[in-house]
């Protein structure tokens, strides 16, 4: 019952929370750059505006592929918050990203296709760590179930999985497409790739992308939080604090680093995965 409530809460509240996080992101970013920055509600108004725009498309498939992307992100988030199998959640998430790549490449546009290729590299870079995170949680708790993991007593599992946590935070930058790993898309359209995967998207299509991002960010923060839960109330507080801290860290990294080449990203991501998660995995297996 609790699970269903949580799932429904996620479905309804996630876009608002995601929107607020996005607004804070822009505010903090502005302050870091010595600007006043927009209101924290700005992303919401931006979304309204996107939805009101004329529907321009390179071809109709673009829109429904993006809509499918959004739906699948929502499904994977819902699966996560209703406490289902973590691997299943990650598989659904990967499937959703596939739809985005397809939406980008269906346009046959040079910038968009390049963005799609780069997005694929991003996925390849982060995928091992994502799957290993599930494996790590399993080794720490003996289950892949999110609900059982969250209710598990004892020390928060982050104590057993520091390597996995670092690795996951590392690839979170890739998943959130933030600098230095905003390889497949950028915040500003004046760069070498224009807007990468989203170059050809506007209006409702781009709104889909925005909403999906909000859902996805909330879910990713949920996974960060999962590392801290042990069934007690204080652990929930801890989870929220840690998730917010990680989000802030992402914003900080975003603002203090320049985009790297995909080669660097790929090497770093796989390297960090092997070193942090690999070693942690090995140690856990040895201690069993």
């Amino acid at each position: 019952m609790m699970r269903i409530v949580l799932c429904v809460v996620y479905l309804i509240a996630a876009p608002f929370v995601g929107c607020l996080l996005d607004g804070c992101d822009r505010k903090i970013t502005a302050r870091m750059q010595g600007r006043q920055g927009p209101s924290v509600y700005q992303p919401w108004w931006d979304l309204q505006k996107l939805l009101a725009k004329e529907r321009l498309m390179v071809n109709p498939s673009q829109f429904y592929l993006m809509a499918s992307y959004t739906v699948f992100v929502v499904i994977s988030g819902a699966l996560f918050f209703c406490g289902s199998d973590l691997l299943l959640v990650f598989f659904a998430l990967t499937t959703s990203e596939m739809f985005m790549v397809l939406a980008a490449s269906t346009t046959s546009s040079p910038y968009s296709s390049m963005g799609a290729n780069r997005e694929l590299i991003q996925m390849t870079s982060s995928e091992p760590m994502v799957l290993l995170t599930a494996v790590g949680l399993y080794l720490a708790t003996g289950t892949f179930s999110v609900a059982e993991t969250a209710a598990m007593g004892g020390l928060p599992i982050i104590c057993k999985l520091p390597g996995f946590f670092i690795g996951f935070v590392f690839i979170l930058t890739i998943k959130m497409r933030k600098s230095p790993f905003d390889v497949s898309t950028s915040h500003h359209a004046h760069q070498e790739m224009v807007k990468g995967v989203t170059t050809e998207m506007s209006g409702a299509t781009l709104a889909c992308e925005t909403i999906a991002n909000w859902y996805e960010h909330v879910m990713l923060m949920g996974i960060i939080g999962l590392f801290c839960l042990n069934g007690t109330v204080w652990s929930m507080l801890l989870a929220i604090v840690v998730a917010l801290a990680v989000y802030f860290l992402e914003v900080l990294i975003d603002n203090t680093s320049a985009r790297v080449k995909w080669q660097t990203m790929f090497k770093l991501a796989w390297g960090v995965t092997i070193v942090c998660a690999g070693v942690n995995l090995f140690v856990l297996q040895m201690l069993r």
């Binding site: 870079s125 995995l281 297996q285």
Partner: protein
């Protein structure tokens, strides 16, 4: 009743083969093949129905087989003579030696050595056999019907090769017959005989075009498979000599009990299976086999023959659980899974990508068998089923695409969804089936990952890492291809020369694929679970029914949602605009103005990253690692058993 049906099932394809070889007239031959295929499928289904009505028990057949044994020995000698003759004709004397040693060894053991072998059932039908029979019958016969139209188109397109269809088409049926024999046999000598037939047919089909490349590749396939055959023969002789029986199930039982000699024999048989399933270091024969016309690639080199290897491995799985033989097999499988998927990234020849992917997936099944626990066998069984259907579909599809567009390069498939909507759709279903949630392949990968975690400390850790990284690279090469297919650049549809017979096979495959995915929970409960129970005793489901149902719902979403949204979005008011090309479009999305002010056609290419994952970078280290694993571990196992 079943006892009479089995010989029909095995021998009838030989009959069809003979008829196809004799009839030279194109139309009539086509009819014979269509009828033959239909009858074979019906025969297989009758067998399955008979068996199911009889209570779906394990059926043991043919305990007394004096004359048949002799006929088989005679055929084996004939086969050996054929191989020796062909090898000597091409100056490949070591291959002739290889064939002679193993065949004469087996013949000596059975006839002259004086070892009294226990009389046991020569054939056994259980659920696993039934699954394999269904795959061979349905996939095999559909490919045979596809081959009729395909080969016609092939010779229109490739006028440079001699038309040897009356050689090619019969061999497909001989192969189907042999494959039935292989999966039904419980007696290792019988199995070995059918095993050798499939090796030789594969060799003959690869050499079909008789070009220098084809001949070289066919002999490479032959020596690698014969090397495996040698391992097989040695395993039989050693086991029979020690235990006085050559029953496969006895071998598995003794191996599970941890007896050193039995494990040594298991390792030898596993070695044979590794060569047959094109695992590293023997992967190159399968890559070379792609020179053969597509039906043989679909039938032998992805859907069925290479499955014989993993079939044997899964049969042996309980005897490999937690011992060195299992570690060897699992490491080779994990390594192959990862490195073949890396090499697939840098390949743009569609058929070669499929070959790499086949090797890679067989690697995963091999790793599952090597771990040898109930969960991994569950995953392995499902991987076999899904891989057989979707790969056979993909191969046939790429064959049809090649005949129609004269290219099988992934790059040339840019925008195929507009030019060949039907073929592209089938291709998309096949590709999704290979890697995307919630299709079956992924469920199996999921189960494999879950059970590898439990497989042991260092061993489990390494396997988990291989699967995680291998999944990432698998994702890359498939989605790259997928995004090529769906690109839309407003080109006109082309004329499709794919024939009805070919489409029949393709559509049935696509339907089967979706159906199997939707019936997943039922298949798991009714078919796979009982297999595991007979192999391991009572076992818990690897993936809970709840999760399976979520997957099925997800599948429905993947199938329905884009279509639904597409229909809905048709009503939405919209304006179509040009691509963004920094303002230098020339009026459509396919051209731009170059620096000289001329119209230039836009070419988009996927990334192949040869400098990172090229075959020349990855193949050599993988081969060295694989050879090291096999030599060291096989050495230790055999040494330990002999001392």
């Amino acid at each position: 009743m079943i006892a009479n049906l089995v010989p029909v099932l095995i021998l009838f394809p030989f009959l069809v083969a003979a008829a196809t070889a004799l009839i030279k007239e194109d139309q009539l031959r086509g009819c014979v093949i269509y009828t033959g295929s239909a009858v074979t499928i019906v025969a297989a289904l009758t067998l399955v129905a008979q068996w199911a009505l009889g209570g779906a028990q394990t059926v043991e057949l043919y305990v007394e087989t004096g004359t048949v044994d002799h006929i088989i020995l005679a055929c084996e000698l004939l086969l050996m003579c054929l191989v020796i003759f062909l090898s000597c004709a091409h100056g490949k004397f070591p291959i002739a030696m290889l064939s002679a040693v193993q065949t004469l060894g087996v013949v000596w053991f059975e006839v002259l050595s004086g070892v009294e072998l226990e009389e046991k059932a020569h054939m056994v039908i259980d659920r696993f056999t039934i699954i394999m029979v269904l795959i061979v019958a349905c996939v095999g016969c559909l490919i045979a019907t596809y081959a009729v139209g395909y080969m016609r188109g092939y010779h229109q397109h490739h006028t440079e090769f001699a038309d040897r269809r009356s050689f090619f088409l019969p061999l497909l049926f001989v192969f189907i017959g042999a494959m039935f024999g292989l999966v039904l046999s419980a007696n290792m000598a019988w199995m070995y005989f059918f095993w050798e037939i499939t090796s030789v047919i594969s060799f003959l089909l690869i050499g079909y075009t008789q070009t220098e490349e084809a001949v070289t590749n066919s002999f490479r396939a032959l020596w690698m498979n014969l090397l495996g055959g040698l391992g097989y023969a040695a395993g039989i002789i050693w086991f029979g000599w020690t235990y006085g029986t050559i029953d496969l199930y006895d071998l598995v039982a003794s191996g599970s009990a941890g007896e050193a000699v039995a494990i040594g024999c298991v390792a030898l048989l596993a070695f044979a299976a590794l060569t047959k399933s094109a695992q590293l270091p023997f992967s190159q024969w399968l890559l070379g086999a792609m020179v053969a016309p597509t039906p043989s690639s679909a039938l032998l080199h992805s859907a069925t023959m290479v499955k014989a290897g993993v079939y044997l491995l899964l049969r042996l799985a309980p005897a490999m659980h937690g011992n060195l033989a299992g570690y060897m097999v699992a490491f080779i499988g994990g390594l192959t899974f990862f490195s073949a998927s890396l090499m697939a990234i840098s390949t743009s020849d569609g058929k070669r990508v499929l070959a790499f992917s086949t090797i890679s997936n067989l690697g995963l099944i091999t790793a599952c068998a090597g771990v040898g626990s109930a969960e991994t066998v569950w995953a392995g069984l499902f991987l076999i089923v899904f891989h057989a259907v979707s790969k056979s579909m993909l191969f046939q599809c790429i064959g049809a695409i090649e005949n129609t567009t004269h290219s099988r390069d992934v790059e040339s498939m840019h925008g195929l969804i507009q030019r060949q909507p039907k073929l592209a759709t089938i291709m998309i279903i096949g590709i999704c089936g290979m890697f995307l949630a919630p299709f079956g392949m992924l469920i199996s990968k999921w189960a494999a990952l879950k059970s590898f975690v439990e497989a042991g400390r260092i061993f489990g850790t390494l396997l988990v890492l291989m699967v995680c990284f291998g999944s990432a690279t698998t994702l890359l090469y498939w989605s790259k291809w997928l995004s090529k297919l769906v690109a839309i650049n407003h080109t006109k549809p082309q004329k499709d020369i794919t024939e009805q017979g070919e489409y029949l096979s393709l559509f049935l495959h696509a339907a089967a694929m979706v159906l199997i995915c939707l019936c997943f929970p039922v298949l798991s409960g009714k078919l796979m679970q009982p297999i595991l129970e007979t192999m391991y005793g009572a076992v818990d489901p690897t993936i809970s029914t709840g999760n399976l149902i979520i997957m099925v719902v997800l599948l429905a979403c993947v199938l329905v949602l884009p279509a639904l949204l597409a229909t809905l979005s048709k009503k939405v008011q919209r304006r179509e605009v040009l691509n963004y090309m920094a303002g230098i479009n020339t009026g459509d999305n396919n051209h731009f103005i170059d620096t000289m002010g001329n119209d230039k056609e836009l070419q988009l290419s996927a990334w192949y990253l040869e400098n990172w994952f090229g075959e020349n970078k990855v193949m050599k280290p993988s081969l060295i690692a694989a050879v090291a694993i096999i030599v060291l571990m096989l050495g230790v196992i055999l040494g330990g058993a002999l001392v």
